[in-house]
């Protein structure tokens, strides 16, 4: 990336704007689409999906329940009705296939806000940022589960911005907009990518799922990488890219295996060399890229 250019401008130049924003647009369509389905009931009286992100019922047959919430209920010492158990199982299986944090990139509404904050952070060229350890989120996840165990209530749900905002959008916002604003300002001025990539326990929960999930981003054509660093600049979890993209010498496969990867596909968008694509986790042999290397690298 040359000075004055923004991450992705090379890709726009070589691939065209649409192609360079393909996954981003699909993601936004998914996030707004799912929210739209929830809103169709209360706003238009068309009841396709009832409930909210915590637990829902689609077309009166398909129950979906957030497994993180279900886990908290169980830890709080309650059993669940079969509906919620089935719902949680379906969601678990889905994210084991689609990538744990696909929840973050494709469903969670906070992601839109934190993406916007990160984008603005970059455009404004803000340099100072507080650092939180990326493992903080697992600690916080642990504490939320512990709180359920100790208090016997879903204590975290009192302040969990993910569910509060989603519920707010569907059932009445109350002061939830303040929470949204706080996260935006926090990410913009206090800590870049602070909330989603360092603190949010929901993201941490889905990160754990993501360690075993099937659908992964892979740097299949990593030998074509020209080190423009655009992917690192747009990725909410840039530390996950390096092993896959640069690990050839160490014999590491091209699949991004870290559970922190949100499967957002933004790296695929912004790479002008088309290094990345969606793949499955078992397609991780090192042989193919090495064969290509001799052809492409000068």
């Amino acid at each position: 990336m040359q000075p004055g250019k923004h991450p992705g401008s090379d890709a726009v130049a070589t691939k065209g704007w649409w192609k360079a924003h393909q996954w981003l647009l699909l993601r936004r369509a998914s996030q707004f689409g799912i929210l739209g389905l929830f809103l169709l009931g209360p706003l238009a009286g068309i009841w396709i999906v009832k409930g909210n992100i915590a637990s829902s019922l689609t077309l009166d047959v398909l129950p979906l329940t957030d497994p993180y919430l279900a886990l908290q209920v169980l830890l709080a010492g309650h059993s669940l009705e079969v509906t919620a158990l089935i719902g949680a199982a379906i969601v678990l299986v889905f994210y084991l296939l689609a990538g744990g944090r696909a929840y973050c990139a494709w469903v969670c509404p906070i992601n839109i806000v934190t993406d916007a904050a990160a984008w603005l952070h970059q455009r404004l060229g803000i340099k100072r940022t507080a650092q939180f350890a990326r493992h903080s989120r697992y600690w916080i996840l642990g504490v939320t589960l512990l709180l359920a165990l100790i208090t016997g209530t879903l204590a975290w749900e009192l302040i969990n911005p993910v569910t509060i905002v989603y519920r707010g959008l569907i059932f009445g916002l109350g002061l939830a907009w303040g929470l949204l604003l706080a996260i935006f300002l926090f990410d913009l001025f206090v800590s870049r990518r602070g909330w989603c990539s360092h603190l949010c326990p929901v993201g941490a929960f889905y990160s754990l799922l993501g360690r075993y999930s099937l659908l992964r981003v892979s740097a299949v054509a990593r030998s074509k990488c020209d080190d423009c660093m655009d992917c690192f600049a747009v990725c909410p979890e840039p530390q996950v890219i390096r092993p896959a993209l640069k690990g050839e010498a160490q014999g590491v496969g091209p699949v991004i295996r870290s559970g922190n990867c949100t499967n957002c596909g933004r790296c695929i968008d912004v790479c002008s060399k088309d290094v990345f694509r969606f793949d499955h986790r078992f397609d991780n042999s090192t042989s193919k890229p090495i064969a290509q290397k001799t052809e492409v690298m000068p």
Binding site: G41, W47, K50, G51, N52, A54, S55, S56, L57, P63, T65, D66, L69, A70, V73, A76, G77, H78, L80, E81, T83, A84, G87, Q131, F132, A133, R134, H135, S136, W139, I140, G142, V143, T144, L146, L147, I150, T151, G152, T153, L154, A155, W156, E157, L158, I159, T163, I164, R167, G168, I170, F171, G172, L173, G174, L175, A176, G178, H198, Q239
Partner: protein, 283 residues
């Protein structure tokens, strides 16, 4: 954080961990304390039928709002952030929209978690709260006027509220028809509170623990025990006898101490306390 990437010292790493741990512990403490505070439900907020006891409810309800959606009367609401009901949980305000006591209880059926007890299948057994005629100064029935609106709208009519007929001491010749709530039948639906004709309802549905007193467990009501046993439990019903000065007797269950007229004893003793003890019957 650059901890892993740049290969800081082990000490730096440990300091880092400790810092995170402290921060997170503080967060946990804060949320924990807040959750205690948020667990107090305002008295006018009632939970849907079949809701578990409040402590359990807050651990079981995932705040999905499916109960809210399936309530045909829009009775239920999900608490919004900033309201004084635990954030995201379902509740209703009787004076706004009471529960209509649907025979098929769709709210319970919709609940995926069991926060609303699926064992409750007869809506008459629901105990969302307990109605109390809380302001007897304002309820016009206590002024001797015929109202009985609460009595008439009650879905458990004639059982949850009865009208007790009392003498009207003001007019001297009319009756008061006093609404009296019975906890063994009132479901706490709030229809009475909703329809009370006053500007501010004189009958209000309260959480059961606020509305009910509790007789000490050792209390026995003699007449009830007697009725239950079919006769006196103190066998035999002993004749009461008192050691009294001559010319006096004692009417247990009646007038108390009595001085026989014929005895003609001086009604006043030397000791003023004695006089008091004798009471009016002795004079």
């Amino acid at each position: 954080m650059a901890t892993q990437d740049t290969g800081k010292t082990r000490r730096g790493f440990l300091v880092d961990m400790a810092r995170t741990a402290c921060g997170v512990a503080l967060l946990g403490l804060g949320v924990g304390l807040y959750s205690r505070q948020a667990a107090s439900l305002p008295a006018e907020a009632l939970r849907p039928p079949g809701a578990l006891a409040e402590d359990d409810f807050l651990g079981a309800c995932v705040r999905c709002g499916l109960c809210v959606r399936d309530c045909p009367y829009d009775t239920l609401k999900l608490s919004e952030l900033g309201a004084n009901v635990a954030n995201g949980t379902p509740y209703f305000i009787a004076r706004d929209i009471p529960c209509e006591m649907c025979p098929d209880i769709p709210c319970i059926k919709a609940c995926p978690t069991g926060a609303l007890d699926h064992g409750l299948t007869d809506i008459d057994q629901a105990r969302m709260g307990l109605a109390v005629v809380i302001d007897q100064e304002s309820c016009i029935a206590f002024h001797g006027l015929r109202c009985e609106v609460c009595f008439n709208v009650c879905p458990v009519r004639g059982k949850a509220i009865t009208l007790d007929m009392l003498h009207n001491p003001r007019s001297g010749k009319h009756a008061l028809f006093i609404p009296v709530v019975h906890s063994d039948a009132c479901t706490g639906c709030g229809k009475c509170e909703k329809s009370c004709i006053l500007d501010e309802a004189a009958i209000k549905v309260l959480p059961v623990h606020l509305a009910k007193g509790l007789l000490g467990r050792h209390y026995r009501l003699g007449w009830k025990e007697k009725e239950q046993a079919g006769g006196s439990l103190v066998t035999p019903d002993t004749e009461h006898s008192y050691t009294l000065p001559e010319g006096m007797r004692y009417d247990y269950e009646g007038r108390g101490l009595i001085t026989e007229e014929s005895a003609g004893a001086a009604p006043y003793g030397d000791d003023p306390l004695e006089t008091l003890k004798r009471g009016r019957g002795g004079l």
